[in-house]
Amino acid sequence: MKTKRLLIHILLVIISFLFLIPFIWIIITSLKGRVEVLTSYSFLIKQFRFENYVNAWEAANFAWQFLNSMIVAVSVTIGQILTSALAGYALARINFRGRKVVFMIVLSTLIIPFHILIVPLFVMLSKFGWINTYQGLIIPMVANGFGIFLFRQFFIKVPWELEEAAAIDGAGRWSTLWRVVFPQVRPAAGTLFVFTFVAEWNNLFKWLIFTNSTDMRNVQLGLSVFQEQFSTNYVQLMAAVIIITIPTLLLFIVGQKKLIQGISLGGVKG
């Protein structure tokens, strides 16, 4: 029993090391000199150059890009949680005509890749005059089939009696939802928060298509400054990559427990 667990642990350590190698390589690269990177493949660093980080931060207009990324990622994430919670509740609990059909439509959106929508979306946004705007980057993303599905699965598992007890205790629909039902589905909100935030933070495609001014760049687009005409500044690029990974990394560390709970509870089983 004990040896078996030990073996499993050793295996897990090896696998996680394999996953970590690229990350470690990025860190190492980000600390080397510009020439050293191109001439040596060693894991060892001759001289630690922490100034790469400062240079990287200054080379790109990072502060501004960070802000852009944050505004869009946070708005989309919160928007998605709100719409998903409300729609998920309706699909799980309110008996309206055509509920099944609506649910099927929501589910079917999950199999449509975003890339198919990009052209019609672009046309729409240009007609609205929303190219190069925050709303153009935010509004199309604030409702999402996955989020709705996730919340629906959670709401279905909340006992009816809780809502009935709240009604008996004198709570109206909103107080019931807000104080009694929503707290039961917090893991869904946590999961969706992490998923959506990370996806938005790492999004490059949307920004490439929907924006064209240098003011409306996000951190991912910002990385392009390190690709110079004839060469790529690898050390600063890697330093920049590390910097922009920090928010998502922090999110995973903080949200780890909730995330696992959310994935295992909200799974397709329900």
Partner: protein
């Protein structure tokens, strides 16, 4: 006063309850008793407004509740699984109904204090509701229902999830609390012992229809029909098919006569006698039977006898214990004819002399 008139509710094909009529007086403890699936919960949910009526009327204090939403009815309910708010502490659970009904904020701590004292919840007031034991959860559920002093208090089998000891204990507690607060109560149970000990009056339900309403003594001593007779009492009442002729009938092979029945015409009847109304004797001229099994039940002993291939059940009190023979041995019995109840063979209803 709560009055229910012609309460009827169907779920697709199933009739959950039909033409239920009853009145509960102010401060009365009214029990709905019946086997699983007979519609007890449905009646309670209709009173609380959690289900819509197909037909009928629910009247509280001379006002119809039919069009009143659940949250505006001054009704509190304890659910079978308690339905405490799992994300809240016990205190928050208790405060919830007060806050929802806009109770003066300054008075809330004092009210919580009082209810916590009444239900002995002080030591776990600040624990999360999900972390409590079954008995503690039950107290909180009762507390949450009572904290705002509702006009009508509904309980749906609140003790059925607890172990026997705790059930006993909380049964007494409930009775005490009811005495103290005197709130009009409708209590649902399938446990006849609970119904008998708690109820001021009992309504017996079967398949959504009323069988009998009455005080516990009446329900036990003169069940209105064979269903009630068999459902109430342990061990089950003894039934014998027989023929009534001028007040005389045969029971277990011997003749019996009940004066009060002498005016009723000749007909096929079922004679019913409670297990404690059959006596063991040793005179040598009683009814002969054979003892199959004996079980101790507190101070009493339950006997399962055999007579003409029919099982006969007896409850023998401590004083008569010496007369009980070994299993498989013969027993001698005597029946007091006045204790026998006669039921019509066709309608299964009690024949009233």
């Amino acid at each position: 006063m709560l009055e229910v008139k012609e309460l009827t509710k169907k779920f697709k094909q199933t009739v959950a309850c039909k033409d239920i009529n009853f009145k509960v007086d102010d401060g009365e403890f009214f029990v709905l008793l019946g086997p699983s699936g007979c519609g007890k919960t449905t009646v309670l949910r209709l009173i609380a407004g959690l289900e819509t009526l197909d037909r009928g009327n629910i009247i509280s204090n001379n006002m119809s509740l039919n069009e009143v939403d659940t949250q505006d009815r001054n009704v509190a309910m304890v659910f079978q699984n308690y339905a405490l708010y799992p994300n809240m502490t016990v205190r928050k659970n208790l405060e919830f109904p007060l806050k929802m009904r806009k109770t003066d904020k300054n008075r809330i701590p004092e009210i919580i204090e009082e209810i916590a004292g009444l239900l002995q919840m002080a030591e776990f007031l600040d624990k999360k509701a999900v972390k409590l034991s079954g008995g503690q959860q039950q107290r909180v559920a009762v507390g949450r229902a009572l904290v705002r002093k509702p006009e009508i208090f509904l309980l749906d089998e609140p003790l059925s999830n607890l172990d026997a000891k705790l059930r006993q204990h909380l049964r007494v507690e409930l009775a005490r609390i009811h005495k103290e607060l005197n709130i009009t109560t409708v209590y649902v149970t399938h446990d006849q012992a609970e119904a008998m000990t708690l109820g001021d009056r009992i309504l017996v339900l079967k398949k959504g229809e009323i069988q009998q309403v009455g005080v516990p003594e009446d329900i036990y001593e003169s069940p209105a029909n064979l269903f009630v007779a068999q459902f109430i009492g342990f061990p089950e009442i003894n039934l014998f098919e027989t023929e009534l002729r001028e007040g005389k009938f045969k029971i277990m092979g011997t003749d019996a006569k009940i004066k009060k029945y002498s005016k009723i015409g000749n007909k096929k009847v079922i004679a019913a006698i409670r297990p404690e109304d059959i006596e063991i004797i040793d005179s040598g001229n009683g009814i002969q039977a054979q003892l199959e099994i004996k079980e101790v039940s507190g101070p009493d002993t339950i006997l399962y006898l055999k007579k003409d291939d029919k099982q006969i059940r007896l409850r023998v009190s401590k004083e008569k214990r010496d007369l009980i023979p070994e299993e498989k041995e013969a027993v001698e019995l005597k029946i007091e004819p006045d204790k026998v109840m006669l039921y019509d063979y066709e309608s299964k209803k009690l024949i009233k002399p």
